[in-house]
Amino acid sequence: MKNEIIGNRYRYIIDTSYGINKDGFIAIGTESVVYKGLKTELNGGLQFSCVLKFKPKYVLVDGKVVNRLEIFKNEEWKIFEELRECRSIVKIEDVIDDLGDFSLPCDKVAGGVINGHSYFCVVEEFIDGWSLEEFCRDEYWKLRKIVPLDNGLNDIVSYHDFSSTEKEEIHFSYNYDNILKYQDQILRFMIDLCEIMEFVTEEKNILHLDIKPENIMVTRYGKELVLIDFGRAKKITKANRFVKSPLSDVNYNDNETVDRMYQYGTLGYAAPECYSKAAEDSKFPFTVNFEQGKMSVESDIFSFGATFWECLNIFELVTKNKLFSDDIHEFYRKNFLNDDAYCDRDLSCTSAYYHKKLEAIIKRCTRRRTPNYCDLDNKDYYHSYKDLKKDLEDARDSAPTIVKEENPKVKNAFSWCGRMLALFSAFLIIYFIFRIMAFNIAENKWEILTSNYNETQFYKLEEVAKSLITTAPAGRVDEIYDKIADFTYKDGYISEYEAALLVSLLQRINNNDLLPERIDEIMINADTRKFKEISAEIIKLEGGEESAGYELAKAIFNVEVGKTDITKAYETLMKYKNNVELRNAVIKLKNTLDNDKNINIITKETGLNRHEIREQFEEIAEKGAEE
């Protein structure tokens, strides 16, 4: 009895430094026992890691003996060879039909020993990492741990055997940040697997038909996915995208056995159409409104959805159900073999932090079958990995990111903020350019306007004049006012509108030194027919009270509009009766006061008699006539 296998180029031994029990054991499947091996070239040299998959040469399927080695060589190996160019699919390095006198005690197989009599060996490349299931449960959420024992071996402790402190820690870690990180990782895995499956199905026309977390490896370094176990894979063609399940009818009342499986693939992940027809009096677990045994790309997509549904629910599945921790297959068999639990899976029992688009994808992948579910026009189902990948990328871009700043919505909002600021700055620059250029522009407009001015353009003149005064450099304001005033005085007496314009300019200039003089100017040039209105404008000016023009304007306004301060107005008239420049205003005031009612008031308040007052009025009128 030897402990080594001789291949074509290498000799292989079991790596007894690997595994919980240091026996090199990795896993056991329905049709193989997997060990970690070490290979050395026949003529010596370095040792490299590999995987040794021991498969029985003959298996019992549906009560018939099947030559597994022959099937492997004719089908599975050919599929592997076709997929060799894809680095995300595990590679077969060698197939050893004759194990010679190799013998390996193994309590997990019938007979307790693996030897050349019953088994052949498939040598695969070793993927250093975890299965997707291990990654999610053990590596990410730490829901299972390996504890070293005194005898040098290890023991696996699952969540339900953790201490309460450990459980608290685990639940504490199930928070927003960690869930977002996990979602990001799962979305990356989903997109990666989609790309792998796109290559397998759409380029190579192969259906995997056994997608599940155990058959997806995650590399330790780089977290890349590698798809393994093509034991159920089938070739399809572009024209015929379906393959019929080779399984015969099963009795669902009987327990599932290795040689009589309920489904083609794995229970819990295989699509409803992969389940065998119900035999005898047993009941098919799902509503039959689809063609049973007709497997297609939609079946793989269902398994894809079921796989990642499990990944996204792993925390609840492990922490809230002991059976799942102990025996996943039994958990699915006991709870999931009905329409409501098996199809239309969603994330309603797991964290609300997972994105709704991700949930929609899972739901669409695992959608309940309808008679036309394979119809390519039926958009309720995914029919290609291209569409699935597109939705996954959309979900990835919509989901909140771990680093909040990397959230596309945050990025967009702040980018738009930058754009708006830039446009604000551009208009600010334009504003300042116009502000600097405003005086020149206004002067230019003034020249154009005054060169060909008529009275209908007054509104424009007012606007330009105001803008000239507002934008004029501090040292030139008075000069500009004089220019505007001269223009208005140029063609004779000014109207009430022109007076209002000049008053508003004077209010803007606010120069108290020159104000009295300018008020006088307005009163000198005022249209005699519009004294009332012009006076009303002038009295709006504050600080001009000292000027003769202002006093006369106020007196005229008070007598004519307010009918008050008659005596005061008479006193103002007497004060300025000899003022030659303001003669028009003086005469206007005299005329305003010259009536019986006003004279009576003046006589009453000053003690003068009517005759004296009349004489004064006549004297003023004469002076006016003389001038």
Partner: protein, 104 residues
């Protein structure tokens, strides 16, 4: 500077889009102004639109963009601090699966 921007991504987003947009908008405005000036249409447009520093054509966009910038900044921070939660609906699957999870 580059390291600093990498550290403060939000500042980077604002500054990069600010610089790009400012350059593009100024270039466009300069080009439009140059064309209008060259063709002699500018004076007519300036007079017709009464273009000056305090005309609505300048002030409305000026204040408008300032308000929008503040709004975008505010919205950005709201999203930044927002914790996403998917609306939960009690589906048929929920009823079945929650009872399965209840069986400890």
């Amino acid at each position: 500077m580059k390291k600093l921007l990498e550290k403060y991504l939000i500042v980077k987003y604002i500054l990069t889009s600010y610089a790009k947009t400012l350059l593009i908008s100024l270039a466009v405005l300069a080009a439009v102004f140059a064309v209008l000036k060259f063709t002699g249409w500018y004076a007519g447009i300036e007079s017709a639109l009464d273009l000056q520093y305090n005309s609505p054509l300048i002030l409305v966009p000026l204040y408008g963009f300032a308000v929008l910038a503040v709004l975008c900044f505010f919205v950005g921070f709201l999203i930044y601090f927002y914790k996403y939660k998917r609306p939960k609906i009690k589906t048929r699957f929920y009823k079945v699966f929650s009872s399965i999870l209840g069986e400890k």
